[in-house]
Amino acid sequence: MSMRVVQPGMLSLLQDSGRQGQHRLGLSNGGPMDREAFHYCNRLLQNSPASTAIEISVGGLQLETLVDTYICLTGAPMPLSINGQDKPLWEVQRVCAGDSIQVGFARTGCRSYFGVADGFTIEARFGSTATVVRENIGGLQGRSLQAGDQLPCPTTNARKQYYLAARDRPRYQKTLTVRVIPGYQQGHFNRVEQRRFFGSTYTISERCDRMGYRLEGPAITCDIEGVLSEGICFGAIQLPPDGQPIVLLNDRQTIGGYPKIGAALSLDAARMTQLVPGSSVHFAPITHHTARKALELARRFTLCKPLQERR
């Protein structure tokens, strides 16, 4: 009972909601870069929220299903077709054994989530199936998907075919304002540097991956070169000696010693992972209080939009 990988595309990784509580072994979180799209993939399929799906970066995944089940593709607009017939994203689709599933390349954005009913059945490592290639942990032997891989999943014959109305889907744009909670080393950046950081436009560089996004723009100087190595949270914005910010993401190292100006709000850091190189980013400072309200709002509204049923 499985799906077979015909073509893995640029980078396809098995991901559940991520590995938690293992930083003391030096393990990072992994998990979906765009949590919102991952959330809707499982929610539309009526899966439990942490079910294992495939994170497709850029596109190009081709699968052959060997089971009768339901699938759903959410996230960046990558054309989906089943046996050559175009199908919409953000909608549960029926597939039968022998069907060929193709995911094309993203027109905007760069990550999408391919889920099956009840998720792929993958053995958890350290409490999670999330693939972190750098650590060689999770997924299938800790690596990205390759042609010929078998992805176990159960047969499912009765599932409602939900979809998310077009007006409720996120729009992936080329610019983004990232809200930043100022951090512990903020005081080492003088007022001019802080104003420069929060007043400038930064561009996503080519060096952006699941560990972190390097941005390019006006260099920010700090009055210290580094700190005694300390823990790094998701979204932390490091400023190495070259003054170009790095936003640290899911597969980041757990400790490091570059000074940090603050941390990107998790919702915005996740949104940023849909930006392709050349896109622009602004940073805006917010307080803890505002950050918490934003998370509450996201939980109550963004993630709870009503699902429609296809009949």
């Binding site: 938690q20 509580g21 293992q22 930083h23 003391r24 072994l25 030096g26 393990l27 490592r125 350290f126 750098r134 650590e135 060689n136 942990i137 951090g183 512990y184 700190v227 005694l228 190595s229 300390e230 823990g231 790094i232 949270c233 190292q253 757990t254 400790i255 490091g256 803890h288 209080h289 950050a291 918490r292 998370l295 509450e296 939980r299």
Partner: protein, 215 residues
């Protein structure tokens, strides 16, 4: 983030270790993860269960009561190491630079007791300190793309065993046959933060017998 100082020393590290346990206890289910390091503890909490002020209050209470206990049940772990230029590419150069015979470098490296200050960089990578200043060596100007698994290395006054093949800029002096990270066994690491580590020199034969890889 809670800071206990800004230097690498045993007292600070002992307070970090004691505070880590206390914070874990007081935070309970609100805690997502903790990252203890040399002189700080990063606390990751679930912001939808609690808030910054409540966390800060709880942490302030426990941290002010944390003292650095003289003997907080730590273990001493002995790691065997085969010291030789064939597995320690920088051993000869390092010995030359510090004007000691290779045996002198090995003796200074094995005679000290090291404390596990932090774990990070890669799964199972333990930062050990402090290396005798006579054999302290700066990081390589250009990091190696591939450091073999088990490599024992020095950077400034820190030493470590590379748990897996990875890039790295530390000076390689030998190799340890004991796996520093094995996801298939429990516990997956032979050491944890606060433990004491000693290195024991072994022969080439013993290294191979213990499962070491010379390649």
């Amino acid at each position: 983030m809670v800071y206990f100082g800004d230097v690498m020393d045993t007292q600070t590290s002992a307070r970090v270790q004691a505070a880590t346990r206390a914070i874990e206890h007081v935070m309970g289910e609100d805690l997502v993860d903790l990252v203890p390091s040399y002189a700080s503890v990063l606390i990751l909490y679930n912001p939808l269960r609690t808030d910054h002020l409540s966390v800060a209050r709880r942490i302030r209470d426990v941290v002010s009561n944390v003292s650095a206990p003289a003997a907080l049940g730590h273990r001493t772990v002995v790691l065997p190491v085969y010291y030789a230029p064939e597995v320690g590419a920088d051993l000869e150069l390092l010995a030359e630079r510090v004007d000691l015979p290779i045996s002198g470098v090995v003796e200074l490296h094995t005679s000290a007791e090291y404390r596990v200050y932090a774990i990070g960089f890669a799964p199972g990578f333990a930062y050990l300190g402090e290396v005798d200043e006579r054999i302290a060596a700066p990081r390589l100007a250009t990091p190696r793309a591939l450091v073999p698994r088990g490599s024992v290395a020095i950077a400034d006054r820190q030493t470590a065993v590379y748990p897996s093949v990875s890039p790295g800029g530390w000076n390689l002096i030998g190799r340890c046959p004991v796996p520093m990270f094995d996801p298939d066994v429990q516990p997956s690491m032979p050491v944890s933060v606060g433990d004491t580590v000693r290195f024991e020199p072994i022969s080439r034969e013993r290294f191979v017998t213990l499962g070491g890889d010379l390649a």
